[in-house]
Symmetry: C2
Amino acid sequence: MTEDPKTLDQRDAARLFSFFTEIGIINQLSMALFAKSLPDGVHPSHFSILNHLVRTGDGITPIRIAGAMQVTKTTMTHSLKVLTERGFITTGPNPEDARGKLVYLTEAGRAFRDAAIQSVVGMFGHLLEPEHYKIMEELGSGLEVLRKFLDENRM
Amino acid sequence: MTEDPKTLDQRDAARLFSFFTEIGIINQLSMALFAKSLPDGVHPSHFSILNHLVRTGDGITPIRIAGAMQVTKTTMTHSLKVLTERGFITTGPNPEDARGKLVYLTEAGRAFRDAAIQSVVGMFGHLLEPEHYKIMEELGSGLEVLRKFLDENRM
DNA sequence: CTTATATGGTCCGACATCGAACCTAATTGG
DNA sequence: CCAATTAGGTTCGATGTCGGACCATATAAG
C-alpha cells in the first residue's frame, strides 16, 4: 500500500504486541516474586529508592530520585513519606534551593537494603538455572537499546 | 566459599538486577506510551481483556481471563465491571457451572478494540525504527524461555 | 448420602500510582 | 527592579491491583 518505512506491516505489529506482552508478563511475575522476598509490606519501589541512594550516594533531591525511578513527583512524595515513617531515610533542607529538600539514608535504611539484597538473591538464586543467567546476559544489550530509545522518546 | 551451582556469584547477581531493571523500565515506558494512545481513560489492562476476547473467542469465564492476564480474580471482577459499564462486554450465566459467569463481547467492545489497535499501531509505528523490530524479534525467544520459567515457578 | 474440601465470584480495606490544582521559591525578560 | 514564567513539593481525588474474608456451588471422601 505505502512505502513509508515507518508504516507497520502486520508482521511488525504482531512482533510489537507479543514483545511487549512478554515484557509485561515477565515484569509482573518477577516483581511479584521480588515483593515476596521483601519483608513485611515493603514495596519493591521502596527498595529501589534505598538501593539508588546507596549506589549513587544520598543527599540528593526527591525530583532526581523520581526521574531515576521513572515515576512522578507525586508518587515520590508518597514513597518518601513511607520510607521516613519506617525510619529508613531522613530529609533536610536544600542549602542551594530553598524550595527543595535533600534525602539522606539512615543506618537502618542502609542495613535494610543490604538485608533485602541477601533475601532477594537467595530467593532467585535457588530458583534460576545457569542457562537463565546466560539468556539474561544475551538479552542485555538489545534491551538496553530499546530502553534508551523509549526513554529518549517519551512524552 | 561454596560450589553449589545455584549460589549466585557477584556477576550473576549484577546481571539479575540489571536485567530486571531494564525489563521494569521498558515495561513502564511502553505502558505509559500505550496508555496515552488509548482513548479517554481506558486502561491498557482493559484493552488487553478486549483483545484477548477477540483473539481467543468470547463466552469464557472471568477466571480464565484472569489466568491469561496474570491478575487475580479480584482484579478481574473490577475490570469486568468497568468494561460492562462502558458497554464493551456483557456477562451471562454459565450453563455448565451455576457458580460461574461467561463473558461476551458487544459490538461496541469489538469496535473499540479495533480502533484502539489502529491508534496504538499508529503511535508506535511513527516512533520505532526498523532496527527496533529486528531487536524485538531477536529477543523474543529468550524472553519466552524466561517468561515460561517464571510462570511455572511462581508461588 | 453426608460431610469435607476445592473452586468461581464478590466485597472490603489497603496501597501504589497518577493527574490536576496549588503554594513557594528561583529564574528570566522587560 | 519588577512581572512573568519555570521548577520543587504537597495535597486531593480517582483508579488499578492485591490479599483476606466471605458466600454459593461443585467435587471428593467417608
